[in-house]
């Protein structure tokens, strides 16, 4: 075999090589470019079309919707504001003043709720049109639950990333048994719940101190993390009945607090799981250095760790906000009228006597997706990379 047969020669590049050979590693060949961009273009249209459809439907009249698909406003059909008028112009109190009043009502009713064990203050009744009520509710509930969830979740994730927990299996088992005992004592022996709870806890601490060191089997942080994420495996519908009954017993049905708490708990696993990775990837020397410099653990968390995980925090906050904003199933069960959120408003347009009011539904959907887009643009600034640059190494 001649040696020349082993060499590549550029002058002999055929059409196939020209099409399929990438000019450099990290670049695409012409054929690959065509395929990739072609597919991306198709996918973009595929994804954006429903949004386009919602927006134009919001400006269609009942007749236009029923007559069949019209695609282009001003050409196929002439846009109307029917869908919008039905929402915003027929009800009274559909103005900014009503929204302001409603926000004041939240504060007033919250104070009334907190003071309810001491003074009876009658809660205010909302005076606002249905869409604006649902809109303000959605804002208050999703922002409230996201804030709560991020605070608890990120602190829990940090603790799990940095502190080695070794709970004894036996202690956990003991705790569950004593909790069951306390429940039985409260319900069947007529003991006051505070008393049985206190006795159960006291017994637990005494027994854990006495026998804890004899237990060998113990769990680690990995087990705790998995336990936390496993809470998300069950579909929410499974737990909704116990939650409903619990909230009914304490009078929280159709309140904002109920939804804020349930949403926060439902999203906690996601926040803990995702934030844990961000915290664990921080170089630990930074925290050790801060510790030697004299910072407290909370100081380190606030001053060093949180600023460095800002991209993660922003991304997960956005994710949680959107999940809360769009949540439907839990809201259906836990809110009746006063705490109704936007997704329920949308779904309600499906249940009228006149069939599905597509044009009204789409008007609400347009209003509903605007804040999500604004939030995404706002938080996207923080989801930048490279905050850790310069931290370690030369």
């Amino acid at each position: 075999m001649s040696v020349t047969g082993l060499k590549f020669e550029e002058s002999r590049r055929g059409l196939m090589e020209r099409l399929f050979e990438a000019p450099a590693i990290g670049k695409m060949s012409p054929a690959a470019k065509f395929v990739v961009y072609g597919f991306l273009l198709f996918w973009t249209i595929f994804v954006l079309f429903p949004i386009y459809w919602v927006v134009i439907t919001a400006f269609k009249s009942a007749q236009v919707v029923n007559e069949g698909p019209y695609y282009i406003p001003f050409v196929d059909f002439s846009p109307t504001l029917d869908g919008w008028r039905a929402q915003f112009a027929t009800d009274p109190f559909c103005d900014l003043a009503a929204v302001g009043r409603q926000l004041g009502l939240y504060v007033y009713n919250s104070v009334a709720f907190i003071l309810s064990p001491f003074v009876a203050i009658a809660p205010m009744e909302p005076q606002i049109c249905k869409v604006f009520l649902a809109y303000t509710n959605s804002f208050v509930i999703s922002i409230g639950s996201t804030t709560l969830c991020m605070i608890i979740g990120s602190m829990a994730a940090y603790a799990l990333a940095r502190i080695q927990y070794k709970p004894k299996f036996g202690n956990i088992f003991m705790f569950v048994l004593l909790a069951l005992g306390a429940i039985v004592a409260t319900n069947y022996a007529g003991l006051h719940w505070a008393a049985s709870g206190a006795i159960g806890l006291a017994l637990f601490f005494l027994l854990a101190r006495a026998f804890g060191k004899h237990f060998d089997a113990q769990l680690g942080n990995g087990d705790i993390l998995f336990w936390i994420i496993s809470q998300r495996i069950l579909p929410p519908i499974v737990v909704i009945f116990p939650i409903y009954m619990m909230f009914q017993a304490v009078g929280l049905i159709d309140t904002h607090l109920a939804l804020i708490l349930v949403y926060a708990v439902a999203n906690l696993p996601i926040v803990v799981w995702l934030m844990h990775d961000f915290f664990a990837s921080l170089p630990i020397e930074l925290e050790e250095s801060a510790q030697l410099d004299g910072a407290t653990r909370f100081g380190i968390f606030w001053d060093i760790v949180l600023p460095l995980t800002r991209p993660g925090l922003a991304a997960i906050t956005l994710l949680t906000l959107i999940l809360n904003w769009n949540e439907y199933i839990l809201a259906v069960f836990l809110s009746l009228s006063k705490a109704q959120t936007m997704p329920i408003m949308v779904a309600a347009k499906n249940a009228g006597e006149r069939g599905i009011l597509w044009w009204e539904m789409c008007a609400i959907i347009v209003v509903m997706i605007i804040p999500v887009i604004i939030m995404a643009i706002f938080l996207q600034r923080f989801i930048a990379k490279g905050v850790l640059l310069g931290a370690v190494k030369g």
Binding site: E285, E288, L292, D293, G294, V387, L389, A391, V392, G394
Partner: protein, 356 residues
């Protein structure tokens, strides 16, 4: 501005450390004198960093106690130990400017802003960072980052400095420069400094005393000169010196070392069946075959610059000889090697201990 720094001693008393079943430190006893620059030298896994971290409080000892000054700090939180540490990775806070980085220890102590500013400027000036105070770590070069870490360590005038391989991320030229600055700075401040490194040059040049650790055991604690000229055992002898000490296996019989038929007079006497002769490259000379103690042939010749390294082969043993820079010899040439008698070390091959 000069401040008289408190000069405090540091004592490790029977410090043991295990990670699970792995023993990292075996009863470390070490007394660091007030104001001393002590270098903990060892290969990776020797326990030197663990010892430093136990002193800093980032790690707790399995048993034993640590004293800083006359205070026992074994179970004291790091921030109450009055120490500062420079990490190998510098551990600068990337979201804070140079000034904020240097001032962080002051900030968490609640030092007033005006006072802090003066001290930050003072510390920055000491490491020649004065005009970079408003930059972020990502805008600095490796050497500048190193200086920020140093400034952050000196700004609050701790009673002990801890340094964990602070120069190992710098390139060779900068490392030499920073080494000199570090030594000068420690000299000026007079603060007790404990410096961990695996680099023998750093240890020899910086330290007043060097503590050599291996497998969690302190091998020798002495001045650099003492360690070089009078190594306690084979490990120390081979660890220190570049190129390393030559070793030849053989037997010690009386005051004569036998190896492959060659006989060498040594300054010690005894009877060791398996002995090791150690000789530094600069204590050997290449001579004509008739004049040397050992007959050999040249294996390779390397010109370093100010000297030439000649590796010669005698039987199965290789010996490196430090020769003048104008040395002229060819591979395979028969030569003799002359050993300086009173610069020879004999070790027991079984224990590694020096035969004295």
């Amino acid at each position: 501005m000069t401040l008289i720094n408190p000069k405090v001693p540091v004592t490790f008393d029977k410090i043991q450390k295990s990670f699970g079943a792995v023993r990292v430190l075996e009863e470390l006893n070490l007394a660091v004198e007030p104001g001393e620059f002590l270098v903990l030298l060892g290969a990776s896994g020797s326990g030197k960093t663990t010892a430093l971290r136990i002193l800093s409080g980032l790690e707790t000892a399995t048993s034993g106690s640590v004293m800083i000054g006359d205070r026992e700090v074994t179970h004291v939180l790091p921030k109450y130990r009055d120490i500062s540490m420079v990490f190998q990775s510098y551990a600068l806070y990337p979201h804070k400017t140079v000034a904020e980085n240097i001032g962080y220890p002051l900030k968490v102590r609640g030092v007033a802003k005006a006072d802090a500013e003066v001290q930050i400027k003072d510390a920055a000036a000491q490491v020649q960072l004065g005009d970079l105070l408003h930059r972020y770590p990502r805008e600095l070069s490796g050497g500048q980052r190193q200086r920020v870490a140093l400034a952050r360590a000196i700004v609050r005038r701790p009673s002990v400095f801890l340094m964990d391989e602070p120069l190992s991320n710098l390139d060779a030229k900068l490392r030499g420069h920073m080494r000199a600055e570090l030594k000068h700075m420690q000299n000026t401040l007079g603060t007790t400094t404990i410096y961990v490194t695996h680099d023998q040059i750093e240890a020899m040049t910086l330290a007043r005393r060097v503590a050599i650790l291996e497998k969690g055991i302190l091998q020798q604690l002495a001045t650099p000169a003492e360690i070089y000229n009078n190594p306690a055992n084979l490990f120390v002898a081979q660890f220190i010196g570049s190129p390393p000490m030559n070793v030849v296996h053989g037997q010690l019989d009386g005051a004569v070392f036998h190896s492959n038929g060659a006989k060498v007079d040594v300054p010690v006497s005894g009877k060791v069946a398996k002995a090791i002769l150690g000789v530094r490259p600069e204590d050997c000379t290449v001579v004509s075959p008739a004049k040397g103690n050992v007959a050999a042939e040249i294996y390779t010749v390397e010109l370093i610059g100010d000297h030439t390294l000649v590796t010669v082969k005698s039987g199965s043993d290789m010996v490196t000889v430090k020769a003048p820079k104008d040395f002229n010899g060819k591979t395979g040439e028969k030569i003799g090697v002359l050993l300086t008698k009173d610069r020879l070390f004999v070790f027991d091959a079984a224990t590694g201990e020096r035969v004295r």
